[in-house]
Amino acid sequence: MRVVVAMSGGVDSAVAAARCVQAGHDVIGISLRLARDGNGSCCSLDDFHDAGAVAERLGFPHYVFDFRDVFERDVVRPFVAEYLAGRTPNPCARCNEHVKFGLLWRRARELGAARLATGHYARIGVDHESGRPLLRTAADATKDQTYFLFALTRADLERTLFPIGELTKDEVRSEARALGLPVAEKPDSMEVCFVPAGDAAGFVERHAAPEALRPGLVVDEAGREIGRHHGVHRFTVGQRRGLGVAGGARRYVKAIDAAAGTVTAAPAAALRASGLVARQVTWAAGHPPAHETSVAVRIRHRHAPMPARVAAVSPAEARVRFERPGPAVTPGQAAVFYRDDLVLGGGWIAEAIQ
């Protein structure tokens, strides 16, 4: 079976490729040129050379495809637009959906591949009743990446392999060492790959139309001006830094109104949401649950899932009620619903319910 392995140049995708070779697959490694100005931490020439060296070592062909146009259109521009709209985007999930499991899969199919393999920490199970593939969390809970994969469809999952989903990071590294892979000790990538030094605000300022960057007011919950800011794109809900509000109790960003250009600051207690509204929701079962359902919901990649009850408002919209008032809810991020290690579904956070 021909398998295309998406190779970033890191150790995870290298070991994923090695496992495909060991499984007897006809492996083609492909790296993607994504960022237009290669000053982020991804897509550097070094990464391509690393991926090529791994392929050489394991004896399969490796190619680099130029995906800069689609990445710009489906990931970078929406990333900038989301910040300008007062939301906090999740570009990794979009990239997975549109670029890796979208366009790369289509290319892989042109190359005669039956499966696409990636180095994500996630697993694919099967629902024994329906035979449907189900997305499951990784064996290594600390590395689990299902938060960025919730939007994969049944068809996506049927043709996907996650060869390292049963491994811990330590096990991945020791497999890489045992195979003599030159990337065994390569550090993990962090942050958003195309944003240099994690400076999202600076990235937005370099890529937005100048007239879209407008200063505005910082207001309190009653709408009174308590400060000024240099643009809503510099803020994310729950953030404390950069508000420029002196004195009094510590305040955090509670809400962002991009149209008015205002950022609402409030004490921490006021940010505690009781739930959220999610849109563009997809369900692993193929349809929403008939009744309100108990789940664990994850609302940021690094947060632990929290107990909640979710009810479908419509096929693509859901309301989530936290069992206990949660931390700040950030519009633009994903809300992913779990039961044990199964991903039941997920969507994009439209707003918090206070």
Binding site: I28, R33, L45, D66, R107, R109, E110, L111, G112
Partner: protein, 378 residues
């Protein structure tokens, strides 16, 4: 057995050139030294210079060895254009001309980049008309490496006669494939690359007509008559000389061989692959060894991969440092849309290409195009 149809990216080293080079590897000998070892190297470099000069109908003293055509192009442009004086070139030049021209323009040089027609040809009259009093240099490549179009260099030279403007041509993709004679072309400077004609990579030459005042870009010792300092790459130069000798001797046969194979390829592709479109001149003059084809609905990138897996080496578009295909600036300049500019597949044959190779490509290629089209449509 792999089939190599990417001679415009780099031709295999000729066995004779390799043999000649081996005699200068592992032995000392700086051509600037007084001793016998130095003398042996000096004699060999000068013999190679004579061979390279003979290939282009030039005097040996006018040949400056460089690290390749890229350095030769840099030396020609930077050696003659001093801002605010400017240069005129075309949109389909090799990056070593276009990027150097843009760098000079960023330093204040005037720059005109002329368009080409749908077959990749620039009009001589347009080039001459674009020249201004401050134009110091016109640089127009002789044969285009991507689509094989041939520029009217001699006509441009005739149009520039008496103006005092210098004319440079990058002949890296022409030498060894068609007659290249500096007097017949009427140029002042001409760039060559060894590895495009069966010599080693890392060696090239700039021919500089006597009387052209060139500012050296590398300063140091008196090598290359002060026009390019640095100890000569003796083995590389010797390999270049041998490849040039063979290219001159075999030119007529090689050109006929290449033209026949390319004609067979194109005829077969037309019959067996629906919708194939040839990019480049429909008729001569053109570089005889180059065939650039677009297959609508079939990404060049995917086709290069599948052909590679099937044992056939070709290229698509321009390659970045990592090997990823970018839209070809040549096809874009010829008016192709970006999608077509990404889909152009370049097959370039050489002395070692056989009829059996062509037949094999004509069996494999149609099936792979169909496979990709099925996948893209699904």
């Amino acid at each position: 057995m792999r089939i190599y149809l990417d001679h415009n990216a780099g031709a295999p080293l000729r066995a004779e050139a390799r043999e000649a080079m081996l005699r200068f590897l592992g032995v000392p000998g700086n051509p600037s030294s007084a001793h016998r070892e130095g003398a042996r190297a000096r004699v060999a470099v000068e013999a190679a210079r004579a061979e390279v000069a003979a290939l282009i109908g030039a005097r040996p003293a006018e040949v400056v060895f460089t690290s390749g055509a890229t350095e030769a192009n840099n030396l020609a442009l930077r050696g003659l254009v001093r801002p605010p004086n400017g240069l005129v070139t075309t949109a389909i030049e090799h990056a070593s001309v276009l990027e150097t021209a843009r760098a000079l323009a960023a330093d204040g040089a005037g720059l005109a980049v002329l368009p080409v027609d749908g077959e990749g040809r620039v009009r001589a009259g347009d080039v001459v008309a674009a020249c201004a009093p401050a134009t110091a240099l016109v640089s127009v490549g002789l044969a285009n490496g991507e689509v094989g179009s041939v520029a009217p260099v001699a006509a441009i030279a005739a149009g520039l006669r008496g103006t005092g403007m210098r004319l440079h041509t990058d002949a890296a993709q022409a030498a060894g494939r068609m007659p290249v004679d500096v007097r017949a072309l009427g140029v002042d400077l001409l760039s060559l690359s060894a590895h495009k004609l069966g010599g080693p990579a890392g060696v090239g030459a700039l021919w500089v007509s006597r009387g052209v005042a060139l500012r050296p870009q590398t300063t140091g010792g008196p090598q290359e008559r002060g026009r390019r300092a640095g100890t000569e790459n003796v083995a590389g130069v010797v390999g270049f000389g041998e490849a040039a000798r063979l290219a001159r001797r075999e030119l007529t046969l090689a050109a006929a061989h290449a033209a026949r194979l390319v004609d067979r390829l194109w005829a077969g592709i037309q019959t067996r692959v629906p919708g194939a479109v040839r990019n480049g001149p429909a008729s001569p003059p053109r570089s005889p060894n180059t065939l650039n084809v677009s297959f609508p609905g079939c990404r060049g990138e995917s086709l290069v991969v599948l052909l590679d897996l099937a044992g056939i080496a070709v290229s698509a578009g321009s390659a970045c440092a990592a090997g990823a295909a970018e839209p070809s600036h040549v096809l874009l300049a010829m008016g192709r849309d970006p999608e077509t500019a990404r889909s152009g597949l370049r097959l370039s044959v050489g002395a070692g290409t056989t009829d059996a190779d062509v037949e094999r490509v004509l069996v494999v290629l149609p099936e792979l195009v169909a496979q990709i089209r099925r996948g893209a449509a699904a």
